[in-house]
């Protein structure tokens, strides 16, 4: 039996593309640019409760047609994994890995489909850095993917919306890691940025692959794979920590607002909670006044 596939899960903007590039540089692992196959499969499994408590969805509908849940999941799994296996075979590699950042919004269904059949690598990044980076992504692309748009319609302040998206996705990923036990490994972007070799060694040990000398340099040097993913990472030939703790440059009031959303999850994931300052209305007004005065200075520059 061939080695199990590897599924990378991480909130968008958590360094998943960086990890994908490093994994794909291994001689036995093929990890293509984002395929959206697993989130597509998750949508196939979407179910909802209809009138009078009736549950509807493909599993229930096919159940009435004589296909039990295990049969449907097995077929869907073979369909989804088949693409990854074929891609790996074409690349001449023995096993596949898959990462699509927005899979993080479909963790429950992906777990239902993949549990017991894959190794999960769960990548976390500080929630305030994720929120700030999502804001940058939306600013650059000029729009929202559907998964993120749901949060923006619920919360009037975009950064608050992204923070809630991080809480939900990072929380779901950590729950998966906890319940999968030895089949899941949790790592941090901050560690990956600080020491990519050490983290990659841990990941390869976890998935049962040997270390391959030069893998980090090859992974960062390879920019020919065209596909979906974080475009910023392709411009980098080396990893650095410039993108770690960027949230500290957010205005203090914004940090405080985001801390209220993120701190419980930050602590759950082993991060230091963000220190907050209780800002009374008077402070907020003074900050506004000083901002106006500063604006005048900028005009005079």
């Amino acid at each position: 039996m061939s080695a199990a596939g590897i599924v990378v899960l991480g909130t968008p903007r958590s360094g998943t593309t960086l990890l994908r590039r490093l994994l794909d540089a291994h001689p036995n692992i093929a990890c293509p640019p984002e395929t959206y196959v697993l989130s597509g499969a998750a949508r196939f499994l979407h179910e909802e409760t209809f009138a009078q408590g009736l549950q509807i969805g493909a599993l229930f509908g096919l159940g009435y047609a004589g296909f039990d849940e295990a049969e449907v999941l097995g077929r869907l799994r073979r369909f989804a994994f088949g693409f990854f296996e074929e891609h790996a075979a074409k690349a001449g590699k023995g096993r596949w890995a898959e990462k699509t950042a927005f899979d993080a919004f479909h963790v429950d269904a992906i777990r239902r489909l993949c549990s017991g059949h894959v190794k999960f690598v769960c990548l976390h990044r500080h929630g305030l850095d994720v929120a700030a980076s999502l804001a940058e992504l939306v600013d650059k692309t000029g729009g929202f993917v559907e998964e993120l748009h749901r949060y923006v319609t619920r919360y009037p302040q975009p950064l608050e919306a992204y923070a809630h998206a991080w809480v939900d996705t990072a929380g779901a990923i950590e729950e998966l890691a906890q319940s999968e036990g030895g089949e899941a490994l949790s790592i941090r972007y901050e560690d990956l940025a600080r020491d990519p070799e050490a983290v990659l060694r841990d990941v390869l040990t976890f998935v049962g692959e040997p270390w391959d000398e030069g893998i980090v340099e090859r992974g960062l040097g390879e920019a020919s794979a065209v596909g979906f993913g974080d475009w910023k990472t392709y411009a980098r030939a080396k990893v650095d920590t410039k993108s770690v703790a960027r949230w500290k440059s957010l205005p203090r009031a914004t940090q405080t607002m985001l801390a209220a959303v993120c701190n419980p999850t930050l602590e759950r994931l082993g991060y230091e909670p963000v220190a907050t300052e209780d800002e009374v209305d008077e402070d907020a007004r003074r900050r506004y006044e000083l901002g106006l005065l500063l604006g005048r200075l900028k005009k005079e520059e």
Binding site: K248, S249, P251, L290
Partner: protein, 80 residues
């Protein structure tokens, strides 16, 4: 309370996340873009709380605020 150079540098590096490596005390902070507007407003709030004074429009000038040495001199004046 007098604002020390160490306290200001620590504030700029930790809270405003300004990279001051290779930057001397005379280097322009705001007009060079090293400190952005958001960080500058936070710095003004920090200065007001530290000196216990309220800044007026006449105080918010590049002469007072555009370098480490100018900020220290301005804060010293305010606390006299």
């Amino acid at each position: 309370m007098a604002l020390t150079r160490d306290a200001l540098i620590q504030y700029l590096e930790d809270k405003a996340r300004v990279d001051l490596s290779g930057v001397d005390d005379e280097a322009e902070l705001f007009s060079s873009g090293l400190v952005d507007s958001f960080a500058m407003v936070d710095l003004l709030v920090f200065l007001e709380k530290h000196t216990g004074t309220k800044m007026g429009p006449e105080d918010i000038t590049l002469e007072n605020l555009d370098s480490v040495s100018r900020i220290l001199a301005f804060a010293a004046e305010q606390t006299q």
